[in-house]
């Protein structure tokens, strides 16, 4: 039953992609910005949790909640301080600005904190849980459970609350939404706040599984960007399906093809999907 084992490994890795991809898809879908620095927000979330847990000896769960709150504010600052000024511009300058922001945050962290790696001392880090068919590290199980929980919360937020409905309205038709009194600036700030809080949660959760350093942001962003394109821009369901699919594909490719080409195999399969469905699995067809 080794294959079930490999698939479960993929699901665990995939659910960390989902958490980051949800933020990217929110910002992309609502604000129409490719937030390349989203990976760095994830990295900052991991560092903040590291600081709170290792240096100030805060409770681990409380630390994640605090870093989510701080980075939600940070997300608003990014939107107000950077992306707001680029509104209405073509995509290229916005992408360049986001790329610059990503490099600024990663290298700024490197300059301030150095290039070393650290381990977040989560209490679950060294415990194992037997699920009967699969033996899993408790920290990895926490990643899956909390990812699922946060995804459900996000889904309810978007579909059931007034703010969520306003977000959807902006995505569907911005002019019409403005006519009925939705303020796009507020909605954009909310999107950045929610997305950045999710990235902070991902950093705090995934941090203890691996290591924390200033360079950990870029790969998760790249993976989550692929997930978003694969699942469809702006789609929560698309991010979930896309993230889990990418995680499982990578693990299976590593197990049955070659560990050297696992990324290549996974990305090749995604390209095939995009050839037949250019707007992604759950994406709406857009005119642009």
């Amino acid at each position: 039953m080794l294959i079930i084992n490999h698939i479960m490994d993929g699901v665990v890795i995939g659910s960390s992609y989902v958490l980051i991809a949800l933020g990217v898809t929110l910002i992309f879908g609502i604000v129409d910005v490719v937030q390349i620095a989203h990976g760095e927000v994830y990295m900052l979330g991991a560092f903040l949790t590291l600081f709170l847990v290792n240096s100030l000896h805060f409770n681990y769960v409380l630390s994640i909640v605090i870093s989510m709150a701080i980075l939600a504010v940070f997300g608003v600052i990014l939107e107000e301080g950077v992306f707001r000024w680029l509104r209405g511009r073509p995509h290229l300058p916005v992408i360049l600005a986001a790329f610059g922001l990503s490099m600024f945050l990663a290298n700024g962290t490197l300059l301030l904190l150095g290039g070393e790696s650290y381990a977040i001392k989560s209490p679950l880090r060294e415990q194992m849980v037997d699920l009967g068919f699969y033996l899993i590290n408790a920290q990895r199980l926490l990643v899956v459970v909390v990812s699922a929980g946060l995804t459900v919360c996000l889904f309810l937020f978007i579909n059931k609350t007034r703010l969520g409905m306003a977000m959807r309205a902006i995505t569907q038709d911005r002019d019409a939404a403005e006519l009925v009194g939705v303020d796009p600036n507020k909605i954009f700030m909310a999107a950045f706040a929610v997305a950045s809080a999710l990235a902070a949660a991902a950093g705090g959760l995934v941090g203890p599984v691996f290591l924390v350093n200033s360079a950990i942001g870029f790969m998760p962003f790249l993976k989550s960007f692929v997930v978003v394109l694969f699942g469809g821009i702006g789609s929560v369901i698309g991010s979930i399906v896309g993230g889990l699919t990418l995680g499982v594909m990578e693990t299976l490719a590593a197990a049955y093809v070659s560990t050297e080409y696992k990324d290549a195999v996974a990305f090749a399969l995604l390209i095939v999907v995009l050839l037949f469905k250019p707007s992604g699995l759950f994406g709406r067809k857009t005119s642009s």
């Binding site: 290039g115 650290y118 590593a254």
Partner: protein, 378 residues
């Protein structure tokens, strides 16, 4: 305004006078250092740079270098190559053309060391790496390159014999997918098979990989007596933590000269039972004194093995300058380096015509959070 200009001219005049008297007494001899100070290999780089500063301080405190009847103050010019061979090559050019250094220490990785050696042969300047173990660096015909740390070929000669003596006949290999990792895994496998053991398989990973579950589970299926890993300290910490999760009974032996303190900090109890290769010899009064002095100066423990080899390499370079008798003759310096016969902190240094040495590797083994160093040849 005029008064300001006048006082500035006076000030400049005084500074010029002071500089003139200083240079009349002792001249400065500069050596370059090019190592990674950021990224995955930053720990290695910093551990060496500190030790080089310490050696420079010790040499200057004992009156400086006496070369050809003149006394020189040693000075190290330090650059961060970020473990990028392109950067190493351009730093070499800068060190020679702008900083006017007379010899260079560095780098950590094999690719960077080769990039430096290519420039060194062209501009004729001696390079000594206090870290590098990859065979390509000394087997590519470079004339000015010297290795100041134990070589992989020594590890291949020593470690598999130890495994066989312990009754561990089969091995599987998990290594970083670059010159260093592939060369080392294949070298170990070859010598193991030559003395009656069996290599069951190879798995690879890259610098950006953080999840090794799949590789570990594939190797577990092979049921080897020994899992041999080639990794940096950071990635090794991830691998052994994940191995404890999916394959707790694995017998893991790691190559690559690890830093035990850092490993313990990053991997905690997952280090239990781990074997790792290190240039760090079992303790002697000299090594204990070095560790204490280093901690006093920098507030951290030295990097296992490589802080000591960096100190030794700097001393060897200084002695070679004295034997060469002049500072501006790279060929004389190279020949003086080749004639080295020096007992340093990590062992007995002698170089062959490829720049290689015969320094030994040791095994460290974690037992209840403590490390026991032993000589696997005994």
């Amino acid at each position: 305004m005029r008064r300001m200009i006048r006082s500035m001219v006076f000030a400049a005049f005084f500074v010029a006078c002071l500089a003139g008297t200083a240079s009349a007494q002792v001249e400065t001899l500069k050596i370059g250092v090019s190592v990674p100070l950021a990224g995955a290999l930053a720990l290695y780089g910093q551990g060496g740079v500190n030790a080089i500063k310490m050696a420079v301080r010790d040499i200057n405190a004992s009156g400086g270098l006496r070369v050809g009847g003149k006394t020189y103050r040693l000075e190290a010019v330090i650059y961060d190559d970020r473990n990028d061979p392109k950067e190493s090559a351009s730093i070499m050019e800068r060190l020679v053309a702008r900083d006017k250094v007379r010899a260079v220490l560095g780098s950590v990785g094999t690719s960077c060391s080769i990039a430096m050696s290519e420039v060194a042969d062209r501009v004729k300047i001696v390079v000594i790496s206090p870290y590098n173990s990859g065979m390509k660096a000394t087997q590519s015909g470079f004339k000015y390159y010297f290795r100041g740390a134990p070589a992989q070929i020594q590890e291949w000669a020593i470690m598999p014999k130890y495994w066989i003596r312990q009754g561990w006949k089969t091995a599987a290999f998990l290594a970083i997918n670059d010159d260093n990792g592939r060369g080392n895994a294949e070298g170990l496998a070859k010598t193991l098979e030559a003395i009656g053991g069996k290599a069951l398989g190879f798995e690879w990973y890259t610098y950006k990989d953080v999840d090794m579950y799949t590789q570990l589970k594939k190797i577990k299926e092979m049921k080897p007596d020994v899992l041999s890993i080639t990794a940096t300290t950071q990635q090794l910490s991830l691998i052994i933590r994940q191995a404890k999760e999916v394959w707790p009974e694995a017998r893991i032996l790691s190559s690559g000269g690890q830093d035990a303190n850092r490993l313990l900090e990053l991997a905690g109890s997952a280090t239990e039972g781990l074997f790792f290769t290190t240039p760090e010899p079992p303790q002697t009064p000299q090594t204990i004194a070095f560790d204490k002095e280093y901690e006093n100066l920098f507030g951290v423990a030295p990097f296992w093995g490589y802080s000591k080899s960096a100190y030794d390499s700097t001393m060897i370079l200084a002695k070679a300058f004295e034997r060469a008798g002049k500072i501006d003759d790279p060929e004389a310096l190279r020949d003086a380096m080749r004639a080295t016969d020096y007992y340093g902190l990590v062992g007995h240094f002698r170089f062959d015509e490829t720049g290689n040495n015969s320094l030994p590797w040791y095994y460290g083994r974690f037992e209840k959070g403590k490390v026991i160093i032993f000589d696997p040849r005994k």
